[in-house]
């Protein structure tokens, strides 16, 4: 059997399967979809998508499928083409696996939601656009997917649209994403005008790529992947339901920006400026997010900042010119982050809507499965040896340590790694250990298989994914083989440091009676003062400029003062000046005449 044919068929079959629940009701009069049906569709699609992944792992098969061409301009080809290479053939099963688990969880989480079918349909449409983004071979399809995930993010964050904070959060997400889109459109336009193509394979120059389109791509990634500068939307996006946070804002949508940079990495590889920018931006983002996560009290916000920090780490990897490693981290991160969110969802629902970790405690005994998987997820996040996160994170830090690059970025990343350990341990201690701080009557029940099955499935993935991927996928760049022991253990050492620090600090909270306010705490808990500063300043500047240009300059100045009204005013002034000259006094007149004649005669 031809491997390529099997690859193409199974990939297209996967994509068609997940399209079916959306398209079929439009064509025929079938009974409406139900949430379990949609879950089953996604499960089937996952199983089918294992075929291309296996084919790639064993035979190294990659292909590009081009079907239809949009004949819009004669000498510019925009085909509908899918690329099935290492990245998309691996991302497809992982995304589908995570989505399947999340949908199954959502069957329980959103059970009391009247529009649950619409919710599931939204999630499905999101998945379709995300997979379109990852399998796109040209920038046109990628852009369609990009915009699609942006729109679905908006709709899903604002799912409970009667809540004002949800609406503002959704709008914030759209606005920040839009700023990133400017960068994407810039680079897409540059590609079209300079390279006369939108296919990424044709866009590589042997010499250094100009910095402008790369800046555009980095801006797009900053917007979509919540790097520092365009990051506030990600914590705010926690207003959406937990399945949405798990799917969009941990595993799939936020990695779209990093994925874009991975896809276009040969363009980046030749330009050191762009690489340094990625490195520093990523380092800054990871440290900033980790700092903010230290003092958050909302469980979902902590996990959101953790996501933001890991995205910064992925950006750092791109800056090190290691796209495959970044993708590896995306894959492993998807598992444990989605699981962390699902655990938090289970906790929240079981505690009847309580999200503040200061009001939780001792859940290890009452929610054993959930909290065990929470622990596994946190350990994987911290980079505990031989769990999923270790393989990608440790490798990134080893590469960072052994490369001749910006040492400031290195320092920031190491610091962020220790902070990761700190806040993860803080989360674990406050949620799972100690005396309970819950209200007395809290009926806690996690015996529903709809909760436990997804979470345990993802826990399995968190444990095994790293090992499996490293075993089967060969690295395209040589990893660093030798280094001094201290460098080798650097990541673990800083993680241990962070753990010890967290334990020490939590000890102090039991013994101190009078907590003092201090500047670092304020900086961390108010998210670096970024939100009030930028949101207020930028919008007031924009509105003021708008008023100056539209009202003052155009309306008042051009249309009135300099234009008609100013002219009429001038005439009025002249008229007012010349009318009193006719005073009626004949002597004045005659003297004027005489004076005029005198002047005329003198001048001659």
């Amino acid at each position: 059997m031809d491997a390529t044919l099997l690859l193409n068929t199974s990939t297209l079959l996967t994509l068609t399967i997940i399209l079916t629940p959306i398209l079929l009701p439009l064509i025929t009069k079938t009974p409406p979809n139900s949430p379990p049906t949609i879950t089953r569709y996604v499960k089937t699609a996952f199983i089918i998508s294992l075929i291309p992944m296996t084919l790639f792992m064993y035979l190294g098969t990659e292909s590009i499928i081009s079907n239809w061409e949009w004949k819009f301009i004669m000498n510019f080809k925009i085909p509908l083409s899918f690329k099935i290479d290492q990245y998309s053939s691996m991302f497809l099963p992982i995304a589908l696996f995570v989505t399947w688990s999340i949908l199954q969880f959502a069957l329980w989480y959103m059970a009391s939601e009247p529009y649950i079918t619409k919710f599931f349909s939204y999630l499905l449409i999101f998945l379709i656009t995300m997979l379109l983004l990852t399998t796109a071979n040209n920038m046109f399809l990628l852009f369609i997917g990009w915009e699609g995930v942006g729109i679905m993010s908006f709709l899903l964050i604002g799912w409970w649209h009667a809540r004002a904070e949800a609406n503002t959060a959704a709008l914030q997400a759209v606005l920040y994403n839009r700023i990133g889109d400017i960068g994407l459109i810039l680079s897409v336009a540059w590609l079209a005008s300079t390279m006369n193509t939108w296919e990424i394979q044709q866009a590589f120059l042997p010499s250094q790529t100009p910095t402008l389109p790369l800046l555009g791509l980095i801006l797009a990634a900053t917007g979509k992947s919540a790097q520092f500068g365009l990051h506030p939307w990600l914590p705010a996006a926690m207003e959406g339901p937990t399945p949405v946070s798990a799917l969009l804002h941990s595993s799939t949508m936020v990695v779209a920006g990093i994925f874009l940079l991975i896809r276009t990495h040969p363009m980046l590889a030749t330009n050191p400026t762009a690489l340094t920018l990625c490195l520093c931006l990523g380092a800054l983002s990871t440290l900033f997010a980790a700092t903010c996560a230290l003092t958050q009290n909302d469980i979902k916000k902590i996990i959101a900042f953790s996501t933001s920090s890991q995205l910064g780490l992925m950006m750092v990897t791109i800056g090190l010119n290691l796209p495959q490693l970044a993708f590896f981290h995306i894959s492993t991160h998807a598992f444990f982050k989605a699981m962390l969110f699902l655990c938090s969802g289970s906790i929240i629902h079981n505690l009847n809507g309580e999200q503040d970790i200061r009001k939780m405690g001792s859940l290890q005994k009452t929610l054993p499965t959930t909290t065990s998987c929470l622990t596994i997820g946190n350990l994987a996040l911290m980079g505990t040896p031989f769990l999923a996160g270790f393989y990608s994170k440790d490798l990134i830090i080893e590469n960072l340590n052994t490369s001749y690059l910006n040492s400031w970025a290195l320092l920031l990343t190491l610091l962020a790694t220790s902070f990761t350990a700190t806040y993860s341990l803080r989360l674990t201690i406050l949620v799972q250990t100690g005396h309970t701080r819950l209200p007395p009557i809290t009926p806690i029940n996690e015996n529903n298989p709809l909760i436990t099955n997804p979470i345990t499935r993802l826990a399995l993935g968190s444990i095994l994914a790293g090992f499996l991927i490293t075993s089967f996928i060969l690295p395209s760049k040589t990893p660093p083989m030798t280094m001094p022991p201290i460098t080798k253990f650097a990541a673990i050492l800083v993680t241990l440091l962070g753990i010890i620090l967290a334990l020490e600090l939590s000890n102090m909270t039991h013994t101190f009676t009078h907590p003092q306010q201090n500047t670092p705490f304020n900086f961390s808990s108010s998210l670096g003062y970024f939100n009030p500063l930028t949101h207020r300043i930028s919008s007031s500047n924009l509105l003021n400029t708008g008023q100056k240009i539209a009202t003052h300059l155009i309306d008042l100045s051009w249309y009135k003062k300099i234009g008609p009204e100013g002219l009429a005013d001038l005439q009025r002034i002249m008229s007012e000046t010349s009318t009193p000259m006719h005073s009626g006094l004949i002597k004045t007149y005659l003297s004027t005449f005489a004076l005029s004649i005198l002047i005329i005669l003198i001048f001659h």
Binding site: Q571, R572, S575, T577, L590, F593, S596, I597, I600, H604
Partner: protein, 346 residues
């Protein structure tokens, strides 16, 4: 007015004008001008109103001063050249003084101050005479001496007349004063072109006479002298009101009407003489007079007045409409297509 007095006055006017027009000698020209001055005085002071008397005195003083200046200029010329021929004015001082004197007679800036008050003090028909008939002899002298006049001075006076006529006229509500300023403005147009194409001056003057007569006679029919009265004139003479608007627009120089012809030809001639900026300035300044013509047209025909009228139409049984109005109105509105006939004849 006493019929005898009217006869003598009218006959003197005709005599004075004829003498000036047909003269070759400066003394005859001066005589005609003086006869005109004296003859019109009873007409201005006909109503024995203090304002009319004041207007009479002002008119007399200014015109006498102007005539004396004309005489002085001809004397200076006779002293230096030894001849009294009107067309052979060569002494430069004489030319300057004559330019100033004629400007004073006509009412060009800066010698225009007397004109609005004199017009305001006289009745509408006398105002008509003052604007048209009394300007004819000075214009004739201007035409005869056109190559002896001082070009920069004339241009300056002309542009200033158009400007001041426009600006001061914007602030008026009395119709006679408005028409005085319109006259000053038109005189500006007339004098700018006299050096280059005197025929155009004559054309402008004749058409101006036509239009002004039409306006004054129409206003006389409904006895309107101010803007507020004009607003209710539609009740008295609706047809005349409508044609009044058209004549005003013609006076402003709008294309389908005859008033456009002189402006067009003057601008053409000025452009040929490489005086485009002057032409532009003049055209822009006549926009000001267009504004107050439009205001008149607006308040007479385009809007209904804010003050209430007792009934929709006032019945006037003794409408003393001058039959001349019909001819003059028709000519002033419809004459433009006949301009190829007009041009070779002047």
């Amino acid at each position: 007015m006493n019929p005898h007095a009217k006869l003598i006055t009218t006959a003197s006017l005709i005599l004075g004008t004829t003498i000036t027009i047909t003269s070759n000698h400066w003394a005859m020209a001066w005589t005609g001008l003086e006869i005109n001055t004296i003859a019109i005085i009873p007409m201005i002071s006909k109503s024995h109103h203090p304002r009319a008397i004041e207007a009479t005195i002002k008119y007399f003083l200014v015109q006498a001063a102007a005539s004396a200046s004309i005489l002085f200029s001809s004397l200076i010329n006779a002293w230096s050249t030894g001849q009294w021929d009107i067309t052979q004015l060569t002494n430069p001082t004489s030319c300057l003084l004559l330019t100033a004197a004629i400007a004073m007679k006509l009412g060009l800036v800066p010698f225009h101050f007397w004109f609005p008050e004199v017009l305001q003090g006289s009745s509408l028909t006398t105002a008509l005479l003052l604007s048209t008939a009394m300007k004819f002899p000075p214009i004739t002298i201007l035409l005869l001496t056109s190559n002896s006049l001082n070009p920069p001075l004339l241009t300056l006076m002309a542009v200033a007349s158009a400007a001041l006529g426009g600006w001061t006229g914007l602030n008026q509500t009395q119709l006679r004063k408005i028409l005085a300023f319109s006259s000053i403005s038109h005189l500006g147009w007339m004098t700018i072109i006299i050096i280059y194409a005197p025929k155009l001056t004559l054309l402008t003057f004749l058409l101006y006479t036509l239009l002004t007569s039409a306006i004054f006679l129409s206003l006389n029919t409904s006895h309107t002298t101010k803007l507020s009265t004009l607003m209710t004139s539609w009740t008295k003479t609706p047809m005349l009101n409508a044609t009044l608007m058209l004549i005003l627009l013609s006076l402003a120089g709008l294309p389908p009407f005859i008033g456009f012809l002189p402006k067009w030809l003057i601008i053409q001639e000025l452009t040929k003489q490489e005086m485009t900026s002057t032409a532009l300035t003049l055209a822009l300044l006549s926009l000001l007079s267009l504004f107050f013509y439009l205001r008149l047209a607006y308040s007479s025909s385009i809007t209904l007045p804010p003050n209430s009228t007792n009934q929709t139409k006032h019945w006037y049984t003794n409408k003393n409409a001058n039959p001349l109005i019909a001819i003059l109105t028709s000519l002033s509105i419809l004459l433009l297509p006949l301009s190829p006939l007009i041009l070779p004849t002047i």
